[in-house]
């Protein structure tokens, strides 16, 4: 039954509805695939018993004709989402053996619609990273390798487990989160589709917080259509998150195959970086050509503050993180290291519980918020953020429907290859994606081709607020033109 793992979510939905196979068979096929792929380290916890129980329940509902839109579909859940009764760690030692007594809104909506949980997926500690190397459970392997090489590459991050598992056919789709590119960059590194919806589209309730004004949940999937199906279930208003937006969730799947004729697509000149690999430049041109032949109009646009997005992000995100992560005190949950007094208990717990990257970001965040530095750093960064958002608004005001850019400045790299000496080297991975979080916009990464070494590369489409449907229509055009990419199995 292993071939069941190669179906898309849309194909599996049809097979389940036609009773060609059961959810239990589909789930078992994926559980076996997970077992055989442990070397990838994509899952940090497997929940086979719960998966089979959920699959049986889905099969009953399907038999009764009472199936939800994701009935019987086995998914992986990033370990940042609180799952009731199932250990949730954000891949940090400081959460230890935390077992939530509640369920995140996004996952509860997936279960409401009939999906099956296979387990929890690896990610960078507290979603801080671009290579999934900062997880306390160790790095994740990318199912893709350079042609003729057996070096293990990173899957990107922070949703590296999600991207790796979807690409390696271990789950039919996965939840992910994106603060500066954590859905789109790993999707691009693994030839999967990842969408970060508009800020406010998915509830953040029950998701371990990193930077609250930037964090947004979204799916990683095997196709554009699959990502549309997943987002429809994940999105929606939640009174428990005051930033969650109270507007109806459209049927995103209906946007797939819709004509893009007459749409105006912006090509931002500031994204043409010095030293950008020629392959990425070529891919970008190919993407523009595909959209043009589908009837879209391509125009050059300017987003003048682009180069300031990443530095502004590295003030705003650590500042918010330092505040959000203040809750890990060794008192209410998680790890505790003893001290002679309460302050020492806090200090020892946080020194022992946080990894190097998290410590660094909490400290820089503390610094930029501290007395005497707030105006020079944090306030200035928030002003720059206003300017970044205005760049996009000016562009959309000129009638631009979406913006096409490369998703990443390079293909996947080897474990340990980047950021060893200078953290900024790793941060540059998010140069094309981070502007979207700063402006709260939706962005989708779609596989578009391979580099000379046979590694996947992706394109990004950026949309107007709450116009995810446009991104699905355009993404489908790219997917149809570029085809889909599956890694050769080596694990």
């Amino acid at each position: 039954m292993t071939d069941l793992t190669s179906l898309t979510l849309a194909e599996a939905r049809k097979g389940l509805a036609d009773k060609t196979f059961t959810s239990l068979e589909l789930t078992d096929a994926h559980l076996s695939a997970i077992e055989a792929a442990r070397v990838l380290n994509a899952f940090v916890m497997e929940t086979p018993d719960q998966a089979r129980a959920m699959a049986r329940e889905a099969d009953n509902k399907i038999a009764k004709g009472d199936a939800g839109p994701l009935a019987g579909i086995p998914l992986g859940i990033k370990d940042l989402f609180a799952t009731k009764g199932v250990r949730t760690t954000a891949c940090s030692k400081i959460l230890g053996n935390f077992v939530p007594t509640y369920e995140s809104t996004v996952t509860s909506q997936l279960w409401r619609d009939g999906a099956v949980m296979l387990g929890k997926l690896n990610n960078d500690e507290f979603a801080m990273g671009s290579a999934n190397e900062t997880s306390c459970f160790g790095p994740v392997g990318n199912p893709w390798r350079r042609e003729g090489s057996n070096t293990t590459l990173v899957p990107g991050g922070s949703s590296g487990g999600s991207a790796s598992a979807v690409a390696a056919l271990l789950c039919m789709g996965a939840t992910a989160t994106d603060t500066g590119g954590s859905i789109r960059q790993p999707a691009a590194f693994t030839a999967t589709v990842g969408i970060k919806p508009t800020y406010g589209r998915c509830s953040r309730w029950g998701i371990v917080a990193f930077a609250s004004s930037l964090d947004q949940a979204g799916p990683i999937a095997r196709s554009v259509r699959d990502s549309a199906m997943l987002l429809r279930s994940m999105a929606g208003h939640d009174p428990k998150d005051t930033t969650s937006v109270d507007i109806p969730v459209p049927d995103y799947e209906a946007a797939i195959g819709k004509s893009v004729k007459g749409m105006k697509i912006g090509i931002p000149k500031e994204y043409r970086l010095d030293g950008m690999p020629a392959e990425i430049e070529k891919l970008w041109e190919a993407g523009a050509a595909w959209l043009r032949s589908a009837g879209a109009e391509l125009v050059e646009v300017s987003l003048p503050h682009t180069k300031y997005a990443l530095p502004a992000y590295y003030i705003v995100a650590p500042a918010e993180a330092s505040s959000n992560l203040a809750r890990y005190d060794g008192v209410r949950y998680g790890l505790r290291e003893q001290g002679r007094n309460i302050i020492e208990l806090y200090e020892n717990t946080r020194a022992e519980g946080f990894g190097a990257e998290v410590r660094r970001r909490v400290m820089i965040g503390t610094y930029v918020l501290s007395a005497g530095y707030y105006d020079a750093y944090y306030l200035r960064a928030q002003k720059v953020r206003t300017l970044i958002k205005k760049d996009f608004e000016d562009c959309f005001a000129k009638g631009v429907d979406a913006i096409l850019t490369p998703a990443t400045p390079s293909a996947a790299f080897g474990i340990g290859e980047k950021g060893g000496a200078d953290p900024v080297e790793m941060y540059l991975n998010d140069i094309f994606t981070v502007t979207v979080n700063m402006a709260g916009l939706p962005g989708i990464a779609v596989p578009a081709g391979k580099d000379a070494q046979g590694l996947p590369l992706g394109l990004q489409l950026i949309g107007r607020p709450f116009e995810e449907e446009t991104l699905f229509s355009l993404g489908e055009v790219i997917e149809q033109a570029a085809g889909r990419f599956t890694p050769a199995r080596w694990w």
Binding site: Y199, R332, Y346, R360, Y367, L387
Partner: protein
């Protein structure tokens, strides 16, 4: 701007993260690399620009000022490292 060793120790204490003496030079280098990177923001003209406070322009939703949750003390302390009944245990704070 850059930070010296004393500032690194001060930030670590503010952040409630224990830092040993031999970690300070390394941390100082990393923090200064980040500060050098964000330095380029000083060239942006932000005269008269409002700082962003809400990424999606919307009215803050307000809920009814009523009790809508509670009576879950068992849940609240379920993951605590040290408890007694429904209390969190900490080292003595007040002498």
């Amino acid at each position: 701007m850059s930070v010296d060793a004393a500032t690194v120790r001060r930030i670590a204490h503010l952040a409630r993260i224990a830092v040993s003496e031999d970690e300070v030079p390394h941390l100082q280098g990393e923090l200064n690399a980040m500060l050098a990177f964000v330095e380029q923001l000083s060239e942006v003209n932000v005269e008269g620009v409002e700082p962003m406070t809400s990424v999606t322009p919307m009215q803050m939703k307000k809920r009814q000022d009523v009790v809508n949750d509670g009576e879950i003390a068992d849940d609240i302390v379920a993951n605590a490292p040290a408890t007694e009944g429904h209390f969190f245990l900490v080292p003595k704070v007040v002498e």
